[in-house]
């Protein structure tokens, strides 16, 4: 039956609902600059009516829930792109550093050192008995060896530095997975109790975004919780339990990544960790291998001509460079000049002091296809070009990734972000509704007062 009390209750429900809605608006405004915050929307529904034939009376309003606005497809795309961006950032940074290694050697770059070496032999051919020209060849050979050593050592240093980054990245991943597992527990507990968990969900989403930038992550949602694995299926988080990754040195001294006893290094291809591993295990070893091939090929070819000729004393020539390892590995780092006496350079082909035929033959090596079908200079130029090309490709890819991610984040902001204009309009709307409900209560109160007075008078 309709009564003043019922009207009072209806007006009160309005006050409560508007107060709750205003709370959501106020929370939105407060979090306008909070990274990862998703806009909240109050869901108001009318309460079940009371039917008293022939009339139906409404019983007010209920704030059913407060919803956080999210688009899971967008979140998934952002997550995927964040992984790619993390990988490219690490890769581009490593490749740029590699480029620097080829340009900032104190002894000049290898290409220049190769040219100088063959130029010095050409000079020697003009007067094979001139000791100063012979010394010039030894100096140029020494500079060439130093250039190879410096570049190879810089690459090794860079590899070690990347290895350190791998370890620190694994530590960051472990911290984040632990945090996500903890948040899973909090969210699950709150949601099971019918409580609001939106803030924790936002925090978890942020942690997942951070994790995505470090490693390739697949998110498998289940009731009130999430399971995270790497793209290859290695478990990272299952509900409230996190699975820690660990590192162990391999036979090369570099750290491999393990999960529950299994080596998962080769399965990580994305995120910062993927980029670091790609640079450490693929790009740098490939360059090192090419440098070793060049150093060994050059040293062996020069030694071959040198030992076929005769030195200034008429003796059979000996190696100019210390022989590189048979396996070639490490040839660039260990390249060194074997002789210190300039008279030991075998410029002559017939043991006479004035003969320069062997020097000419040695000089000719500079233009011969002695390294994998290419001249030494061309082979080196190829290495440099490959490094530059790989850097440019990765940089372009990084640029595409940045643009795509920016676009996706803009889309997310338009879906989940807080609009001050919209919130201001909502605020006015809820305020007016609250005032109207309050006015209803005042009116009901007046009416009750009138009724009470009437009762007193009649009593």
């Amino acid at each position: 039956m309709s009564s003043l009390n019922a009207s009072l209750a209806t007006a009160l429900s309005g006050l409560n609902a508007d107060q709750g809605a205003l709370e959501a608006t106020s929370n939105n405004v407060a979090n306008i600059n909070t990274p990862g915050y998703s806009r909240e929307e109050p869901i108001l529904v009318s309460s079940d009516p009371v039917v008293e034939d022939p009339l139906t009376f409404g019983t007010g309003v209920t704030l059913q829930s407060i919803e956080s606005i999210r688009d899971p497809i967008l979140e998934s795309q952002i997550q995927q792109e964040t992984q790619t961006q993390g990988q490219l950032n690490a890769l581009v940074s490593a490749l740029q550093q590699t480029q620097v290694n080829f340009t900032s050697n104190t002894g000049g770059d290898i290409g220049t050192a190769i040219s100088n070496f063959f130029d010095s032999i050409n000079q020697l051919a003009t007067d094979p008995s001139d000791l100063s020209l012979r010394q010039g060849v030894l100096t140029a050979a020494g500079n060439l060896a130093t250039s190879f050593n410096t570049t190879a050592n810089q690459l090794t240093t860079q590899s070690t530095s990347l290895d350190d980054n791998v370890v620190s990245t694994v530590n960051q991943i472990n911290q984040l997975t632990q945090q996500i597992a903890q948040l899973n527990g909090q969210i699950s507990a709150l949601q099971n109790a019918g409580e609001t968990a939106g803030t924790f969900v936002d925090q978890r989403q942020q942690a997942i975004d951070q994790l995505s930038s470090l490693v390739d992550v697949s998110v498998i949602p289940s009731d009130n919780t999430l399971t995270l694995t790497t793209a290859n299926g290695t478990a990272l988080v299952a509900g409230q339990q996190s699975f820690q990754l660990s590192t162990q040195p391999n036979s090369s001294g570099l750290q491999d990544i393990y999960s529950q006893g299994s080596d998962i290094t080769s399965t990580i291809v994305s995120g910062q960790l993927g980029g670091l591993l790609q640079a450490r295990d693929q790009q740098i070893p490939a360059i090192q291998s090419q440098l070793d091939t060049l150093a060994a090929g050059l040293a062996n070819a020069v030694n071959g001509v040198q030992t076929a000729g005769f030195d200034l004393n008429g003796n059979q020539g000996t190696d100019l460079f210390n022989p590189p390892p048979a396996s070639v590995t490490g040839a660039a780092a260990s390249l060194s000049v074997a002789i210190t006496d300039p008279s030991l350079i075998a410029a002559s082909s017939d043991a006479t002091a004035g003969n320069n035929a062997n020097a000419d033959a040695m000089y000719a090596l500079g233009n011969q296809s002695i390294i994998s079908g290419q001249s030494p200079s061309d082979y080196y130029s190829g290495i440099v070009f490959d490094v530059g090309n790989a850097t440019s490709e990765a940089t372009a890819e990084q640029s595409a990734s940045d643009q795509a991610l920016q676009q996706l984040n803009d889309q997310r902001a338009s879906v989940s972000g807080v609009s001050l204009d919209e919130e201001a309009a909502n605020m006015v709307q809820y305020q007016e509704a609250y005032q109207a409900s309050a006015q209803v209560i005042t009116t009901v109160n007046d009416m009750m007062y009138a009724v009470i007075n009437m009762t007193t008078l009649t009593g």
């Binding site: 709750g20 998703s38 909240e40 929307e41 704030l63 059913q64 829930s65 919803e67 956080s68 606005i69 999210r70 688009d71 899971p72 497809i73 998934s76 795309q77 995927q80 792109e81 480029q99 080829f102 340009t103 770059d109 290409g111 220049t112 040219s115 019918g194 409580e195 609001t196 968990a197 939106g198 969900v201 949602p221 289940s222 009731d223 009130n224 999430l226 200079s377 061309d378 080196y380 130029s381 190829g382 440099v384 070009f385 490959d386 490094v387 530059g388 090309n389 850097t391 440019s392 490709e393 940089t395 372009a396 890819e397 640029s399 595409a400 990734s401 643009q403 795509a404 676009q407 879906v415």
Partner: protein
């Protein structure tokens, strides 16, 4: 920096340093040729930038327009180079955008031309990266829409995700919303 004629940065292609094309079949002086090529490359560069924006905003008409414009420009460039080099059968189309393998004839010209080609190469790579992402995005949506919970009712025009895609995020009115119950 340069190493024996090779540049460190492949965005700056190898330039032989001469501004005179020594082809017997050349009909134009090198300045005019370079100018015409540069003009086309500038137009191509602008077109690629516009195309990238269209691609990012999924502007299908813009993408279509851009692709047609780029095809036209590529054709004009090929014709121009064919005329210049006097090769008769023309330059291989793929040679234009083949990274790391520029032909000597293509690389003749001013340093400005080399820089312009480098920019085009970079933009083309970015464009390729964006196209791959667009394709990946379409595949993702396609997978979601053809998931195990597909029904054969006409799809609601405002619904993005298939219902029940993510049990944590319960589908609301188009956007999936996480329901937060109040105590």
């Amino acid at each position: 920096m340069q190493h024996n004629g090779l540049t460190m940065d492949p965005l700056q292609p190898r330039v032989t340093g001469t501004s005179t094309i020594e082809s017997s079949g050349a009909r134009y002086d090198s300045g005019a040729r370079t100018g015409a090529t540069l003009a086309l490359l500038r137009e191509l560069e602008s077109s690629l930038v516009v195309s990238q924006q269209a691609l990012l905003t999924r502007d299908l008409e813009g993408m279509q327009r851009g692709t047609e414009q780029q095809k036209r420009l590529q054709h004009e460039l090929l014709v121009l180079w064919d005329t210049e080099t006097g090769q008769g059968s023309g330059v291989q189309e793929s040679a234009w955008f083949l990274p790391g393998k520029p032909s000597p004839k293509e690389l003749q010209g001013s340093a400005e031309l080399a820089v312009a080609i480098g920019r085009i190469l970079h933009l083309a790579r970015v464009q390729a990266g964006l196209l791959i992402r667009a394709q990946r995005s379409l595949k993702l949506i396609s997978r979601l829409l053809t998931g195990p919970q597909i029904n054969y009712e006409p799809p609601a025009t405002h619904t993005i995700a298939a219902p029940g895609f993510n049990p944590v995020f319960r589908s609301g009115t188009g956007l999936n919303k996480e329901v937060r119950c109040r105590a």
